[in-house]
């Protein structure tokens, strides 16, 4: 019952020659892949292996290896991503401290490592160990005083400038794709776009190195987003080792989805959150098999990172938090306020950052990327140094803000006035009045907040690797901690107020300012990225308990609603639009009442559709058509009169087939007839040898009728991953809709410039 002779689905190109000519089935740079066709090709490959595996033991083993290669790739990705993340963490640690001083015993030790080896490791003296010397101590032998301060200040700025200059130069010279967070581009690539070199080996190497440099330089950026890019580069590298993945753009994207999960997993130490991030934010086609493998890759990466143990505390997570008191219903109000703040911050950041990036693209500003980086770094360093909360690295800052004030905490933020009558228990310290340190800290935090807000807008989008998870979280954490301290002091001084009376007696520990910082961080991150489930799960993995999930969720939901009210796009989608990538978002709902006939080409008044006929055009006709148009493919019809559709031929394959036939097949000349039918057409006796091209004809092109609502067409494009779709009415070919047409139509309907969609 299987009609094998007629078997020539979209993936089968081999009913004529045994070996397809080279390059058939590949795509050009900046083009969109055809998911159905990739899937079909993979099934063909799989069928071949399965049928071969019955022939001999060797083939059977090969088929087993093929089946296992997916897991092997995941293992390798996990190992490499985890290792790179560990190395980056260690290097950043060392280089950040290098800005302040150097370790005498071994210059490659960071401040903390240097003082570990020192003998005086009592808790109080940990920060002052003789082996660690500030630059002023080393150079002019002064540790205090104005001149020492100025010297250290200068050294700080110099190192920052050096790191930033090195980073931007490396990116410019070796790997221009290494800049930015990479997530917008990865989203586009995963949706089926080709950007050659974006996930290449050079990008991997340069991004890893420059990431260390820029993070150490103290710029307001994080390593989390770029780590996703680095992990995807690893994924791309390993998938190129296995023909199953290297030769199939669809399968390769399954590996990349898993790699993205591994990237987030190592960035936060949150494997489940990483998988959900990949599912929710990054991936386009995410079958359940990939879910399982992503989970595996994310776990391997997390455990590799843990065995490297860069933080020296065998914790998996970036910010480990442990709170001792529950939260109370009345606290939901400040939590929701923080959510509103997060939403507003998200909106402000996206608008300002996009406006600034557009200006960079369109004005002369974009011509001096090195200068821009140097200037921003200099300003950042100059303003950051005097304030202790901006001088320290942003992850340390967040960590400090998240922390609950224990009894042994020496930080300025924990400078509360203790009741002398009270013995100090280790946990469960009651709310106390704030001391001088806390008030100073509040001022410094307020300044740090303004500084971070402004400088992050200008930093994200420069020609260096830059993530915005950490800066966003920092903004939220600062705001949250300030609100938290405010509520705490209010509750301490006014515990007879009706809102506090029920849950905040004197002597009780009722408000945890660290929790507010965490809630604020989640809200701000949510406002910028519009993540939902993955955000809450990542935060859940940080705290490790369901206890605090309700505050986090309340803030995340509020922040998303507030931000969505001002604009549906998250920062990544906004950057995708800014760059004009052909990305068909799964989350956008198309609700307009247009029909396929309104979108298809040719429009009314335009010249008719360029088609091929099945058996009446010469090679020259086709070559002229190819030269005169730049369409990616041509529908093939029975004849120009009947316009009944037979199939679809890709431009690239037509060109290759004709070139190949002219070189290899005898008797093919310019006026040879090209035919797509099974049998050659009846030709006059003296006509040249005709050229059969059935093998490059896609006999199952996708068609819709002209009355199909566009919402259905959009759905089909999204779910099946089409490149183009033909439009018919009562069996006659009317026109064609490409992915670009769909995107332009959607932009037009949303009152945006349709010409902003640049690629096909």
């Amino acid at each position: 019952m299987v009609n094998a002779g007629a078997m020539s689905g979209s993936g089968n190109l081999m009913d004529f020659l045994d070996e397809p000519f080279p390059d058939v089935g590949t795509y050009e740079d900046f083009h969109t892949i055809d998911w159905l066709r990739e899937k079909s090709r993979d099934t063909d490959r799989h069928r071949k292996i399965t049928s071969k595996s019955k022939e001999s033991i060797w083939e059977f083993i090969k088929s087993l290896l093929d089946a296992w290669s997916g897991w092997v790739v995941m293992l390798l990705i996990g190992l490499l991503a985890g290792t790179l993340a560990g190395v980056i963490d260690l290097a950043v640690d060392w280089m950040t401290d290098l800005k302040e001083g150097v370790c005498l015993s071994a210059f490659w030790y960071s401040h903390e490592q240097c003082c570990w080896t020192s003998n005086e490791t009592t808790f109080e003296d940990r920060d002052k160990c003789p082996l660690w010397q500030k630059w002023s101590e080393l150079l002019v032998n002064q540790s205090e005083g104005a001149s020492a301060y100025i010297l250290n200040y200068l050294m700080y700025i110099l190192w920052a400038l050096l790191f930033a200059f090195l980073a931007v130069s490396l990116v410019r010279v070796f790997a221009p794709y290494a800049c930015g967070s990479g997530i917008p581009e990865i989203k586009t690539i995963l949706s089926g776009f080709i950007i050659r070199g974006y996930l290449g080996k050079w990008t991997l190497l340069i991004k890893t190195v420059t990431l260390v440099l820029v993070v150490s330089s103290g710029l307001s950026l994080g390593k989390e987003g770029p780590l996703v890019h680095v992990a995807c580069c690893c994924g791309n590298f390993f998938s190129s080792l296995f023909s199953k993945y290297s030769k199939n753009e669809g399968k390769r994207r399954e590996v990349l989805s898993a790699a993205a999960a591994a990237g987030v997993s190592v960035a936060f130490g949150a494997p489940i959150g990483g998988v959900l991030f990949s599912l929710e934010e990054v991936s386009y086609y995410f079958p359940l098999k990939t879910l399982w493998r992503s989970f595996f890759a994310a776990l391997v990466a997390a455990f590799t990172l843990r065995s490297i143990n860069p933080f020296g505390n065998s914790r998996l997570v970036l910010f480990y938090v442990e709170y001792h008191t529950p939260w109370y219903m009345a606290e939901l109000f400040p939590f929701i306020l923080l959510g509103v703040f997060g939403g507003l911050w998200g909106t402000l950041f996206i608008r300002c950052n996009i406006a600034w990036c557009r200006r960079r693209k369109t004005t002369r500003l974009g011509k001096y990327p090195v200068l821009e980086v140097i200037v921003v770094t200099a300003i950042t360093a100059i303003i950051a140094y005097p304030n202790p909360y901006t001088r320290q690295s942003t992850s340390e800052l967040i960590s400090e803000l998240f922390n609950d004030c224990g009894a042994l905490e020496s930080s300025q933020l924990c400078d509360y006035i203790n009741d002398p009558n009270m013995t100090r228990p280790v946990d469960d310290i009651p709310d106390r009045p704030a001391g001088v340190g806390v008030y100073t800290a509040m001022w410094q935090l307020a300044l740090a907040l303004i500084f971070k807000i402004v400088v992050t807008i200008f930093t994200f989008g420069m020609k260096i690797p830059s993530g915005l998870f950490i800066p966003s979280m920092a903004v939220g954490a600062i705001a949250g901690r300030m609100v938290g301290i405010g509520v705490e002091q209010l509750a301490y001084h006014h515990h007879d107020w009706i809102i506090f009376r029920n849950w905040c007696r004197p002597g009780a520990d009722c408000v945890t300012p660290g929790l507010y910082a965490m809630v604020g961080a989640a809200a701000c991150l949510g406002g910028v990225t519009r993540m939902t489930v993955s955000l809450v799960v990542i935060m859940f993995e940080l705290t490790g308990g369901l206890e605090y999930i309700v505050p986090l969720m309340a803030a995340a939901v509020t922040s998303k609603w507030v931000a969505d009210a001002f604009g549906k796009e998250g920062i990544y989608e906004a950057h995708i639009h800014l760059n004009g990538y052909p990305f068909l978002d799964v989350k956008d709902e198309f609700t307009h009442r247009t029909l396929a006939t309104d979108v298809m080409r040719p429009r009314r008044g335009e010249p008719p559709l360029s088609v091929l006929t099945q058996d009446s055009m010469t090679v020259e006709d086709v070559e002229t058509l190819i030269k005169e148009t730049d369409y990616n493919g041509f529908p093939v019809v029975v004849s120009r009169d009947s316009e009944r559709l037979i199939g679809f031929a890709q431009r690239r394959e037509l060109i290759l087939a004709i070139k190949n036939a002219r070189q290899r097949q005898e008797g093919i000349v310019s006026n040879s007839i090209m035919y797509f039918t099974e049998e050659p057409p009846e030709l006059p006796a003296n006509s040249p040898h005709p050229l059969k091209l059935r093998r490059i004809l896609n006999l199952s092109p996708f068609t819709v009728t002209d009355h199909t609502p566009m919402e259905t067409v959009v759905d089909i494009f999204r779910k099946l991953g089409l490149r183009q779709c033909l439009v018919t009415r009562s069996g006659r070919l009317l026109g064609i809709i490409t992915k670009k047409d769909v995107l332009r139509h959607m932009a037009q309907m949303a009152n945006q410039d349709p010409e902003s969609i640049m690629f096909n």
Copy 2:
């Protein structure tokens, strides 16, 4: 540019009459819905609300309410599902203890609650409090001795029989759909099938009550699967309150997916695991919006359950576990062995259970469901009572097996010989030689294992609510604990062996038998259900730490591989096939080289396809066609000669339209011409008034060419949720492929009986 006059997409039925006649757009029982059409209808509804909302403030508020209704439904589902789960837990607790005795102070207290209120609440005497009386004490005033034992034995059996009889009678009389776990049917319903009453209010009520009865009766079944059904009934109930969900079968299924997540969330106290379970196992169409809402519903449900606090320990999770020692690499070998065991158990269970269920369906056995339940209950009770590990409830058993032996543990399983020279630390007890109790326990556990394996096969599928999560986990936990104790004793007595030497010194706590039980439970559950990510995440939420995720994952992966080697179907898919539901599994890969032309109807030699012409058939012709065939719809073509496709008309809507026209429109008689075009056809002067039916015509039917590979067709059916698809060649209509045809073809290709697919 919007061609509004011609706007008649699949969802728009209103281009002629303002109000569609009743019942248009609904589906018959045991039919499949058309997802694209449901989606399109929802978009129409949404558009209408959005455009109306600009008219007045009242309409704007209504549109806000509509937008919020999704969250309200989720909140209500979470609240009700959590409450029901809490009530079920409390009732089961009480009724399970009722089989053994009664509380004198208040008969509605369970054993534990009874002894809480008692004054003698020291730890050792907790089990013996005077207020709790065994039946023998109460009835004949004897607590020890053979006659007391026999009396208690009899009472145990009597109560079990009473509970089981009540349950099976209630199910038979009031709600036949309340039987089984419900998950296979819910999977089918979520994939787009209609089973009226399956999620009705009666089913909800009866399933809740009978679930308590059967779990208390001591049968080898669990409440976890049925809780998913109960939660889905809640979801169905609340979605019927909002027209957004009640009138759209597609939207309703989004709510049901979230409800399933809430069900698992309360079953295990694992909200994230619940969402992933819904995503991985149950749901079919799971957009990201639903993911977020499911998470919300799952959280609300979990917190509602926690505030009810049925276990009295304010723990959210069903089995809370805390281990004190890490695992070692060498232990991976027994863990993988447990995985193999789990896979073998899964295969054995599925094969035997399906064979037994098939026998029940086909022989006289199925005619006596009450007797069957009584007999199985009697046998279960008689065998279970003498063995303490089968007498206690299965969840208590699992809980005990998971537990690490602490210093204060009085259980038989923790009867180790202590070193008298050693002081007893609270945690971190070194490995010790097993005492007599442990050896007795091993024998009893072995017997319990055999008993559970056999009896579960016969229990699952009877006409009572029955889940198999708990029995499967029990089988695995018993096997795991036995292996764990074995490894522990081996390591204790032979710590000089090379495999133990590196990690198991004398006096160290190296093996945790409880962890083996947990790994075994995961492996067995994985073997039966073939869950992957959700299984690991549920287990992760039980232990609450990433520490033990690698052993769990190793066992889950092994178990899935071993079980898959013997057959790809999990127990739920196997039951779906057994019942012949039209379920198109997303996980099955279709790899055969067939084409659409091989599957479409009519086959070669069959009578031609029944079609309607656009303007030449009379009402009578159509009525005859409808009477003579039972197709769900008919393609409409220009004329029988050209066979050019215009659209598709649903049978149900044709019948309704003709009935309606005959009643309401004047001049419609049997030989009126029916036309589907915009303009009426030119008719002879004396012909009766024609009937315009364009509004029921779907102008955008889905078409594929006859050369389309079936793998693509299957993909399209899956991803777009089609009911049928028309097959064309060069614009001519050749045939039709329905979902049933696809399923039959897939069954045939897998060498199964294609007639087993029963519904359309």
